[in-house]
Symmetry: D3
Subunit: 334 residues, 6 copies
Amino acid sequence: MRVVTFGEIMLRLSTPRHQRFRQASTMEIEYGGGESNVAVSLANYGQDVSFVSRLPDNDLGECALRSLRAAGIDTTHIVRGGKRLGLYFLETGAVQRPSKVLYDREDSSMATVSPGDIDWDRAFEGASWFHWSGITPAVSASAAEVCREACRAAAERGITISVDLNHRSKLWQYGKSPAEVMPELVDYCDVIVGGSFEAAHYFGVRVEDDSDFLSLAKALGQRFPKATRIVTTLRDSISASHNTYSALLWDGTELHSSPTYQLTHIVDRVGGGDSFMGGLIHGLLSWPGDLTYALRFAVAAAALKHTIPGDVNLVTAEEVISLMQGDGSGRVRR
Amino acid sequence: MRVVTFGEIMLRLSTPRHQRFRQASTMEIEYGGGESNVAVSLANYGQDVSFVSRLPDNDLGECALRSLRAAGIDTTHIVRGGKRLGLYFLETGAVQRPSKVLYDREDSSMATVSPGDIDWDRAFEGASWFHWSGITPAVSASAAEVCREACRAAAERGITISVDLNHRSKLWQYGKSPAEVMPELVDYCDVIVGGSFEAAHYFGVRVEDDSDFLSLAKALGQRFPKATRIVTTLRDSISASHNTYSALLWDGTELHSSPTYQLTHIVDRVGGGDSFMGGLIHGLLSWPGDLTYALRFAVAAAALKHTIPGDVNLVTAEEVISLMQGDGSGRVRR
Amino acid sequence: MRVVTFGEIMLRLSTPRHQRFRQASTMEIEYGGGESNVAVSLANYGQDVSFVSRLPDNDLGECALRSLRAAGIDTTHIVRGGKRLGLYFLETGAVQRPSKVLYDREDSSMATVSPGDIDWDRAFEGASWFHWSGITPAVSASAAEVCREACRAAAERGITISVDLNHRSKLWQYGKSPAEVMPELVDYCDVIVGGSFEAAHYFGVRVEDDSDFLSLAKALGQRFPKATRIVTTLRDSISASHNTYSALLWDGTELHSSPTYQLTHIVDRVGGGDSFMGGLIHGLLSWPGDLTYALRFAVAAAALKHTIPGDVNLVTAEEVISLMQGDGSGRVRR
Amino acid sequence: MRVVTFGEIMLRLSTPRHQRFRQASTMEIEYGGGESNVAVSLANYGQDVSFVSRLPDNDLGECALRSLRAAGIDTTHIVRGGKRLGLYFLETGAVQRPSKVLYDREDSSMATVSPGDIDWDRAFEGASWFHWSGITPAVSASAAEVCREACRAAAERGITISVDLNHRSKLWQYGKSPAEVMPELVDYCDVIVGGSFEAAHYFGVRVEDDSDFLSLAKALGQRFPKATRIVTTLRDSISASHNTYSALLWDGTELHSSPTYQLTHIVDRVGGGDSFMGGLIHGLLSWPGDLTYALRFAVAAAALKHTIPGDVNLVTAEEVISLMQGDGSGRVRR
Amino acid sequence: MRVVTFGEIMLRLSTPRHQRFRQASTMEIEYGGGESNVAVSLANYGQDVSFVSRLPDNDLGECALRSLRAAGIDTTHIVRGGKRLGLYFLETGAVQRPSKVLYDREDSSMATVSPGDIDWDRAFEGASWFHWSGITPAVSASAAEVCREACRAAAERGITISVDLNHRSKLWQYGKSPAEVMPELVDYCDVIVGGSFEAAHYFGVRVEDDSDFLSLAKALGQRFPKATRIVTTLRDSISASHNTYSALLWDGTELHSSPTYQLTHIVDRVGGGDSFMGGLIHGLLSWPGDLTYALRFAVAAAALKHTIPGDVNLVTAEEVISLMQGDGSGRVRR
Amino acid sequence: MRVVTFGEIMLRLSTPRHQRFRQASTMEIEYGGGESNVAVSLANYGQDVSFVSRLPDNDLGECALRSLRAAGIDTTHIVRGGKRLGLYFLETGAVQRPSKVLYDREDSSMATVSPGDIDWDRAFEGASWFHWSGITPAVSASAAEVCREACRAAAERGITISVDLNHRSKLWQYGKSPAEVMPELVDYCDVIVGGSFEAAHYFGVRVEDDSDFLSLAKALGQRFPKATRIVTTLRDSISASHNTYSALLWDGTELHSSPTYQLTHIVDRVGGGDSFMGGLIHGLLSWPGDLTYALRFAVAAAALKHTIPGDVNLVTAEEVISLMQGDGSGRVRR
């Protein structure tokens, strides 16, 4: 059971201790991106996982590669080329002040990937799951094209395909709208994670009441008949420091729901959705017959992510399960 | 429309990560003070602002000057001289443990400023607003004297004058009490920010119920007929980590009030009042016809300050207005 | 009135800023341990206090010694020898993620202490109080033996003896269970701090309802007739970031209770129990006739500890009393 | 006497403590670039100096602006626009390991500046000196075009023009070679700083012996008759930690030379040439009749730069002169 | 061509900025050890390399594993078990003050490895080179036994075996001397790196003049007939900050020598010998017909290591070759 | 054999990593001063030593006290009072750029000490050596007066008195010159450390050739007949990073000299003279019959100080002796 994720990994530069950009004399660095974050989660849970991408042949590309290898991710299908690693700058907010992301990823190696660059035959050898997100086709026309290549190749092999719709309004700068690109790609998918905004904006699927996920899921299910798991996360943002988090999953028959976690002292909210996605894939692979359990795993995993600095969710499956079983007391383990 | 603020800027030395003084092996440094903090806020909002002070002719004086220039503040009316830059040491508290300020500002260049040192004619050229605070006359007899010079000069030019009464009990060590010094100075003011403690202690203006701001404002209005905006901030200190914040403004006719913000995860509370003052001056200059809006701007600005480390409020007017319009959700901006 | 505490002091290595172990490229270091933490609290309150232990004759032993001397603790009864300083690694949790302690203290100098190593006659000269905890006999058979030596010597001199039962399940690896070792040692004690778990596990003292401290205290009082103060702390762990804290004390006649503190933004929870113990000893020594006051002092002290990074409680008696008197507002002191 | 410099300022991200890129978990940040570094030097010497550039209208652009203002540089002629701030990553070498610069400046706001963007009439108002370098026309065709605009405008006003030829082989990627672009620009210059490599590569000016600067200078003087000061710096790189540094200046009649400094424990070599250039302009403006003194000032300034971390030379004219007068002993000043 | 190295990897804790142990409030951490350092070098040069060891099944073991994977080393033959990761504390010296290493590695997982724990059949599958060092048999009797197992298994497969004799006087605490253990192990080796001290102390091989490596090499060659490459490094320690470094290799016929590098501003001397060893194995594998070149590669690699903080040599083969070709000027690469 | 030293201890704030003041966003802090630095050295060598001073009764005074106690110095004769702790800011130079000290010690608790504040009877109980320096009488008239008190009291008890003349030109601001104050104080001294500048400037003792220490020592011996050990240190400052260091001692009969150390990579030069003084007192106490050995100990101690960051010399007597015996190779100790 091998999982393949595909997307861009970037250099993340964040200001320390809630500093605003103009206060920083140092930045903390690490490497992260939606789909590589999912891969890290899966590796932590013991899954055999490959991340596929394109990295520049320079020191920063090498650093990104090393961070993936450290996590235990197979990197042999990453191709090298292009001019630069995508970057993003992060200013961490608090209370009423939102965190702020400044993307600097145009013309990155991943944005300039071309059809044919990646050998999908080799990449999908032995794979049973393929994951991508709405960020990749938003980066550039050619990245969208390679995404299509990947979906087609995965579908041909009968590989389960998941997508996190993940809208980023500051991307999609290359002349096409999500509505022109996404539907064809999502047609390939078995698992869709998204909300009413993406449904409306990408697919023209609208429900009267945005909070009525059941109707939305049914409508999406009709629109994308291959998709048998339609999932949404529910985040109530009381402040930058306090959110609540839960999720719902529609399997075509039944609506599964999770408990709601109070994330009262958020350490780092970035990567929360990716940690949910990683937990969901692990859950669906591990407990295919218990979708509620799989969903609850994903939500508990995402809750823990908010307590960890950085892009990625550094928790074991045992830690997630301990929280699922009700131990959210945070008592010292010694 | 130029604003002039006058006071002392100090070297602030704070212990990192909630350390107590005796734990610190490094200190974080920056430059701040009540009236220069107000100037920084105003510069951030796009106001043309000068800060007037006296700085020593040494490296630390130079550093303070550079921090002001970086913020976009006019520093050409700062005079150089005296022996030392005032300092303050800060230990940041949490929950039930209060933050602790240790002043070391005696005999600073600003405390030893003399009448005539500052060329108020030049400093006020083109100015329409002058701001000072109760800290300056508390520092030394000569600083009080220069403050009087400034108020007189500003009043002669018809410049609007605002004061933040800002009592600091550890100052006022030079043999005079606030009651002997402050009334004459406040007589010049158009805008007074303060509370029942200062009213009683400085001016002998007392109301039966300390929480009855309307009565207090009316009494102050009678005592200082020039003052047409009498303002107070209401801070409920649930703990060092959680405060609530709001404000009231009496314009002689009507009582304007703001919403109350829940500051649930305070990053740095120092400079909160200065950020309110900066927001208020900007508000009164920008929306002179909508005092409620001006007041709400000031309160939202102050709320945001509590999420930023350091003395100064590094937010734009757009960010303040976004919070005023109800977006306190702290959702990531990307 | 001299207090003696006896136990192990370790090098503590903690990851910065809520990092998980695998994220750390630096660790923050300091020196702490249950009984030395108690000694630091007592020194801060002005008590004359000695810490007795065994430290290796190397640089890390020297560092531990220096940290004790800095705190004003008498270290002249510490013996040098053995191979290594015990270590513990700490990962600081948040919200639902617990803090994690990784002990590496086997074969430490303290674990290999032998009967006769410490000259208890000299160590107890002029002492009126002796404190130890359930950690020391858990470390090794010989440490338990030396603990017995100490208790016997203290009891012979009529010194008041206190114990914090403090169960650590990962210790007790040397072939004996607490039930075999602890009863004989606790027989010597005048003050017992512990809960229903230790009562049952160490002494077979069980009550029907774990939350019925009065019954438990009475049962313990019968089992250990010398113990006239039986104390428990009540911690409700809402999350790793938010606990509540209070305590109860049974003096054989009356049940004394404290207010409950809301520890809403915990900075460092480690050492919380030791800070309670330090406060309790100080309270019982300072206000022997007012046990409620003594208990409230201990609880307020422990509350403040949670706002301070590190193992030890760096607060003065004045600061504790200020909180006891109701000032938990955390307003800036300047 | 106002000086104008024109070029790109970048975000510099450097690894701490000689770390290689793959070791860094933080990066130190500041803002620097050839021509802005020259401006900082001039401001430190008390010159009235403007830096002209194009910066993006985002947080990083704002940060760059603030760093310039802090230094006391006039920034009113900087235009805002474009997509991104240029970046460069720096790994600091030692001994036999060279420092490594990784540029990421393509499509920066400065690279995409267009003719007409900058109002040279206003920028040169009151100016007596204009400085640019060979980096700007290397960045993009349009930057080269704007450079030509600037030179033409400066020359029309009779402003002295200096150029630091400063070859960067990794730039010049836009389809033109230096030989096609530089000669026309250098034709405007009064002061040329460069070496035999640039002479040959840019202008086809070759001498038999590369170390025979006199011949080279004469040949360049013939090729560019307007240039009356032709200058070169001589750096012997014994290792990344130890260089020697001196310079020569040909005024058409006489060859002026400086002493050679032993830079035995280099702290940061980046910006060394810019600090020379800043010193040279200050020297030529301050002591136009004593070219040897001016040159020696420039060399002493450059020597001091190598002892300061970062891109810019933070020394006063007094400090430079003290070194020129022979005080290189480094004795503590107290 | 796969290389296998076998030994212990430890947590290294070093004081920052030349601090002595008693000054440190933080420690820099990483993971390193003689034989894993060799593996990192080989991975950097593009060799296919496995590191074999035993790591505890806890967070620190996991961290060590991640650091190896990040470097691109195969870790699939590492077994998990035992109680603790070995540690070492490092204080970095300067000039006349030596660096100081404090080992805390007793009873580590590697020290308690047992014969049979490692599946040498699998570990050596496809391997052509096996490397170990004199540190492993010094750690414990069972580690020495497993080392023997490994040597025997490698020899049976005709794998080339190299050893770095690497004496550590503070180890060898388990009751056997090197003279009792090492000869049998070295009998298996094809490549021996060591000096006159080890020759005498381990094997009783003595030469009249310690500096006469030729005689020593011949004597060792007679004593260990399988060893066809006998190598020594020559380090002259002028101070902790300035060493010189070169090496000699005797191939049974000819004495090969390298140039001597001046390491004038040492950044971190620890791991210098391991970086030589890594370079030597790479050299012998890559240029088996040019032993002088192989040796010079090893020495240049070791020179570069001294400029890099930490245990491991993070350089590429291209960087080493560039230095071999004479570019030790340390000029900035941009 | 107890030693007493008397003087001022200050908060030292230094910029990290060779930063200039204007670059610093943090400062490293510690506590040091000439005479307390001497006390730390003596404690490190195992001497029983008291430091006498006056400290403010605030957090910074407490921190200074803790740092002394950590070092094992008796602090029971320190009196509390006055307004502030003296401060000094340090910018660490390199190569041709000197380090820079900015004093801010006026009106410190020590400067405002008064005759009678210190109970010299108790302070000198059991003491056999008293040390002071020329800094204390330079601070204020009353500090000079208390210094006289101390010298008189020590002399009456027959205690050996040493002085480090230690001129600080920026002090002596209170209206008296050294020539008016120092002679009377030095009359009491048995050991004088100083050079030709102080001899001339303080006592009018001049020799023809400044480098002729023998003549100077003889002249000083005549002027101060009680002084039987007259000592000078010889520092050649090649640059801020490279000094040489040696010393000479005249005992009235014989001139003793030390080897010269090459301090080629200075880590921190501040406190070098104090470390010499501490070594000299230890040497004279330990080897009174071998003055050459005592002097060589002092010089080797001072050499090692230059390799340690901070004010104080953290070396053991064994480490000093190891260097004296010729081991300056800096080879790693493991």
